[in-house]
Symmetry: C2
Subunit: 419 residues, 2 copies
């Protein structure tokens, strides 16, 4: 019987591992609770009406249609029976494995305030993105509809909590929506008066970037009408708004971009984890004491050259590659490759039209050129010609016409009542 | 003060009326419960993974951004106060009018079996389309996952009830999905064995077309693996399947394309209606006894040359045009135009790749040429260059590559429990 590899999660890490196991003569089962692989680095553009959902997500089985060695299952993992070497999915069905790769990702972390999630959704899935898009657009609609001045102001106040790349990118596009895309479509409100807040508890935005790029980003956002607030934590979130330190701010749209929490992989595996719930991975990315179980990507705490590896797509892909290399070596009876070493390519973030920051290991770039490089790099990393064409068309259209093409409000707002 | 026109519904009829009132020196309020105008003739392609939602829907306020005389409100109409000349929206707010146009469309009709809707959704809104798409794709996923042979067969049985153009177009693409798009992506099931049923209680499919086109369509569908059943009504629908006459058929995916029911406009207006709930419109498309209230499109029963006008997009547009013409004549103090006359351009329906039927008032066409004409006509009627490019790209891609680009399963299945 062929060696059975079960991969949980078809994100960047899991999908890369599956790809790199091509021809390794094993029987692979890939399990994900979604039917699509998602290009998360552009998810914020779906949330902010620039891209459509179908442009950054691909059916997993379509990506792997030529891989007869891979069976894809749409199922939710409820646990792992480490002793019996089985993954447990819906209805207590069991999928046996010889080697297991757990790359099940992360969700937002609310640092003990999980009830904030309803009013301050994070951005990890397509549903998250359409929820945020719906709230953004509904806020403008409700502002247009209301006769109450205070309510109008609250509807036109948008608060993004957390100023890493995602937070910065979100406010950048929201500002463009309010300043450039929407003004001539409303009759009773001036969308340019919308208040867009970027809130960071730490001392500066984009903390992972060199300080001069943080300063540039903050200044650029300020000239585009974003109210950047650093140094004060959000102390409460409700349907009405937030409290910043001691100050209550009425904001009907709040987005959470502040932290992530790993999937329950540590619990499934009974393995030690760090504070964010990430399983502590060994030098070959396996669980300590169990060489046949790999943990990759956002669900793993991986160290390289003495520092933790960041939770970004290139790092996840490198880990997927490494796991596949280790498995192939073992199956071929060769010596295992040397321990995983993370190669950092750099940090990128857009700030809005014609503005981005790039830090390539100390070589920094900002402004228009950085923005174009950012765009070309992201087009390149998309899967398939169809998506590249579609995203390029959407971006070009938005750039030339000043209109965003994905501005539908769909699904009802069922989670919360606003007033 | 300017003449106040309130338009309820931004479908084909309402939007056309607003467009044709350009420069008429009135103050227009357009109310819709959605933020988008929807190109319903292609909605079935969203339901069947060929097109993305954003390709056939446009934000209403974007379409009307240059019309400073139009205020668009995203709101739900709860009634009309005919005596006070006010439309009542959410929260009992009132929008006064001098002239009212009600073009609020229709929903599916289940002929007294409203509880069937949960298990046999119809196709009127984008949410309907994504619900049907989710169920279609989940059925294949569940068939791949299950170990139970009977369950697998039920998951791979798809029943479309009603064989007008929508029903025929739906089964045409579902058959293509099963036969051409999906087979190489599944490992445990053969999607080509899926059973796709088109069910019509009447004696033939496409009853509005000449009989020879019905015969051609039925024969074409049969060669593509569709099980066409005419002459027997569906007598029950549940989560498990349907009963056709006396025969129970296990089918986990059931789609309703059998009938429509007008919006509650007749109740709002206290006006007489036909059996489908459509307000009986007079020769100028106004409510009998109230010249200032127009009823248009699917929400109206309009007669022309002694026959009822069909519920299709060109008819709705012509009615919108006529209403605007009457209003302009009145405002200018001119004589009103002659009563509304419907000009029938023809009936079109696709049956799948390279096959369509067209009936231009007796001149009929079928097959490949009809299919191309159908496609070009629909591209032409889309709004805006962006949509035309996007839809053309999606169609071209699907035609050339054999893959459909909108195959995401999003949102949870919350309405019903399957087992």
């Amino acid at each position: 019987m062929k060696h059975r590899v079960v991969v949980v999660g078809a994100g960047f890490a899991g999908l890369q591992a599956v790809k790199d196991l091509k021809g390794a003569n094993c029987q692979i089962t890939l399990i994900d609770q979604r039917n699509h692989h998602l290009f998360q680095p552009l998810l914020y553009q779906v949330a902010t009406t620039l891209l459509a959902t179908s442009e950054i997500a691909w059916p997993i089985r379509r990506v792997l249609r030529n891989r007869s060695d891979v069976t894809t299952l749409l199922a939710t993992v409820s646990g792992v029976d480490v002793a019996l070497r089985e993954v447990v999915i819906d209805d207590d069905r069991r999928i046996p494995f010889d080697t297991l790769i757990v790359a099940s990702g992360a969700r937002h972390a609310y640092f003990g305030n999980d009830r904030w999630e309803i009013d301050a959704p994070g951005l990890k899935t397509l549903e998250d993105a359409t929820t945020i898009r719906r709230r953004l657009l509904l806020a403008f609609e409700r502002a247009e509809l209301t006769e109450d001045e205070a309510e109008r102001e609250a509807q036109l106040t948008f608060a993004v909590i957390g100023a890493g790349p995602t937070g910065v990118e979100l406010v950048g596009i929201i500002a463009e929506l309010a300043q450039r895309v929407l003004p001539d479509e409303f009759r009773r409100i001036d969308t340019r008066k919308a208040r867009i807040m970027l809130i960071e508890a730490g001392p500066r935005i984009l903390p992972a970037f060199p300080e001069k790029l943080s300063t540039y980003a903050a200044a650029t956002l300020a000239t585009r009408g974003v109210d950047v607030r650093t140094g004060l934590p959000v102390t409460s979130v409700s349907a009405k708004g937030i409290t910043l330190g001691e100050q209550p701010i009425a904001a009907r749209t709040v987005i959470w971009a502040a932290g992530v929490q790993a999937s329950p992989a540590a619990r499934w595996l009974g393995a030690p984890a760090d504070r964010a719930g990430r399983v502590l991975a060994g030098p070959q990315l396996t669980v300590p004491g169990d060489d046949a179980i790999f943990v990759l990507g956002d669900t793993a705490h991986v160290e390289s050259k003495g520092a933790p590896v960041p939770g970004i797509a290139p790092a996840a892909k490198q880990q997927g590659k490494h796991a596949a290399r280790v498995i192939r070596a073992r199956l071929a009876g060769r010596a295992e490759p040397p321990p995983f070493r993370y190669s950092h390519m750099g940090n990128l973030a857009t700030i809005g039209r014609n503005a981005a920051v790039i830090d390539f290991n100390g070589f920094t770039l900002k402004g228009r050129l950085a923005w174009w490089i950012w765009g070309i790099a992201h087009i390149y990393f998309l899967i398939g010609t169809r998506s590249r064409l579609a995203v390029a068309l959407s971006w070009l259209w938005s750039f030339v016409s000043g209109h965003n093409s994905a501005r539908l409000i769909t699904q009802k707002e069922t989670l919360r009542k606003l007033d």
